[in-house]
Amino acid sequence: MCLAVPFRLTKVDGVNAVGEKDGVTRDIRVDFLRDPKVGDYVVCHAGFAIERLDAAQAQADLDAWNELEEALATL
C-alpha cells in the first residue's frame, strides 16, 4: 500500500510543486514537507510528497547494497 516513488522538485509554489523523475513530470502537493525547495528529492505517494529523501543516507544505502550484492554473489 506504499507504492511511492522518488521525485525531484523542479518548481515549488506554496503547497503546489512539480516533480520530475527520469523525464516524466507531474504536479504534486508538498503540504507535508517543511520548507520544500527546488532540487529536493521527495517520496511521492498518490500525488503527495510524504517525506524528503535524505540524499546522504540514500548514498550510504547504495554503497552498503553493493557490498550486499558481492556477498550474495558468493552464495
Partner: protein
C-alpha cells in the same frame, strides 16, 4: 510477518523467500488496503455507483474487486453505464468535479496512513473550494489497531514484524514502539528495494535469534524517528477514529478514520445516507484467513483453480497487492 502489500509484491517478485533460512517462514498479513476493505463496504460502493449522476473517482486498485453478487464489480458496472474514473491522486477528483458540474463526484478514500494525509488534504481543499458536487467516502484504516487485534488472537505465532516503509514515514519509529515495549515483539522498518528488504529481514532475524525486541529502521533515508508530524496533524484535523470492519477479522474498535463534523458536507456517507450492513464473504472464499496470515494463498482451496486473476473470487487475488495475486503472478517456476 510483513504487513504491507507493496512488500508482499516486492518479496514475491525478487524471489526473496528463496534466501531465507529453512527455519524462517515469512507470512503476509493485512497489508493490502483493498483486500482488508470489508465485503459490506465494497457492496456499499457498488450501490453508490447506481445513483443517478454519480461519478466515482477511485484508485485503479478498486476497479475489479468483486462484489457479493457473482461477476459484480465496478468494472462490470462501468460496462453497464456506471461512471467510474480512475485517478492517481485524490486531488484529481476536484478537477473532475469542476469539469462535470451536473454530476456528483465521490472519491473512494481507501488506504492506510500513507494515503490518509493526502486524502485529508483533499477533503479540506474540497470544502474550501465551495464546490457543491464533490464528496469523499472514507474507508481509511489504521495500522496499530489491527496489529493489536492480531496479537490478541489465540493462534498468534509471529516472532517479528517487517514494518511498512511508507506508513512508517508518516508514523515514524515512535508509531510502532508499542510492539517491543508492550509485547516484546521485535520489528524492523524496511524500504522497498529488494536490498532494503533483505537487510531489514536480516536484522529482524538477528533480533529474534538473540532474544532482542526493539524497533530498527532500515529505511532511514525516508523515515525519521518521529515520522512526519505535519502529515499526522492534517490527518487529525480532518479525521477522527471510528470502529471499522476488516475483512476476515471483523469489527476492530477505533481502527478506521471517519470524516469529522466540521467537514461533514464532504462526507459521502452523510450525503448519500450510506448504511454499511455486515455481509458474508463469497462462498468458499478464504481471503479473510489469508489476510490474517492464518492461511497462505497456496493453501486456499480455490487458489489458482477456481480463483485466478482472470476470474477472481475475492480481493486477495484481484488486488494488485493481494497476497494471492502476488503468489499467483510471481509463483516460483520450481
Amino acid at each position: 510477518m510483513e504487513v504491507c502489500g507493496t512488500h508482499t509484491m516486492a518479496i514475491a517478485k525478487a524471489g526473496i523467500r528463496s534466501l531465507l533460512p529453512p527455519d524462517v517462514e515469512l507470512i503476509s498479513g493485512p497489508g493490502c488496503p483493498v483486500c482488508v476493505t470489508d465485503q459490506s463496504e465494497i457492496d456499499a460502493i457498488l450501490r453508490l455507483s447506481e445513483e443517478r449522476n454519480v461519478i466515482l473517482a477511485t484508485y485503479g486498485d478498486m476497479v475489479r474487486v468483486p462484489g457479493s453478487a457473482a461477476g459484480d464489480s465496478l468494472a462490470a458496472r462501468s460496462a453497464k453505464g456506471a461512471r467510474v474514473r480512475v485517478v492517481y491522486s485524490p486531488i484529481d477528483a476536484l478537477g473532475i468535479a469542476r469539469e462535470n458540474p451536473d454530476a456528483e463526484i465521490v472519491f473512494l478514500g481507501v488506504g492506510f496512513e500513507t494515503t490518509a494525509p493526502g486524502t485529508a488534504a483533499f477533503v479540506k481543499a474540497a470544502k474550501e473550494s465551495g464546490l457543491p458536487n464533490v464528496s469523499c467516502l472514507s474507508l481509511l484504516k489504521t495500522c496499530e489497531p489491527v496489529l493489536r487485534a492480531l496479537i490478541a488472537e489465540p493462534d498468534f505465532r509471529v516472532d517479528g514484524f517487517l514494518l511498512p516503509g511508507h506508513v512508517s514515514t508518516i508514523l515514524g519509529e515512535d508509531g510502532f514502539r508499542f510492539l517491543p515495549e508492550e509485547f516484546g515483539i521485535p520489528a524492523v522498518i524496511g524500504g522497498f528495494e529488494p536490498e532494503d528488504i533483505i537487510v531489514a529481514l536480516t536484522r529482524l532475524i538477528r533480533q529474534i535469534r538473540n532474544g532482542e525486541a526493539k524497533i530498527e529502521n532500515e529505511y532511514r533515508r525516508a523515515v525519521r524517528p518521529e515520522g512526519n508530524p505535519l502529515a499526522r496533524r492534517m490527518i487529525e484535523a480532518v479525521f477522527e477514529p471510528e470502529d471499522s470492519l476488516w475483512r476476515g477479522i471483523g469489527r476492530i474498535p477505533k481502527s478506521g478514520l471517519a470524516i469529522r463534523k466540521e467537514y461533514e458536507t464532504i462526507d459521502a456517507k452523510k450525503r448519500f445516507g450510506l448504511v454499511i450492513r455486515e455481509t458474508p464473504e463469497p462462498a468458499g472464499c478464504r481471503c479473510g484467513s489469508v489476510i490474517r496470515g492464518a492461511v497462505s494463498p497456496e493453501r486456499c482451496p480455490l487458489f489458482g483453480r477456481i480463483c485466478t486473476p482472470e476470474e477472481p473470487v475475492g480481493p486477495c487475488m484481484v488486488s494488485s497487492e493481494g497476497a494471492c495475486a502476488a503468489a499467483y503472478k510471481y509463483r516460483p517456476a520450481e
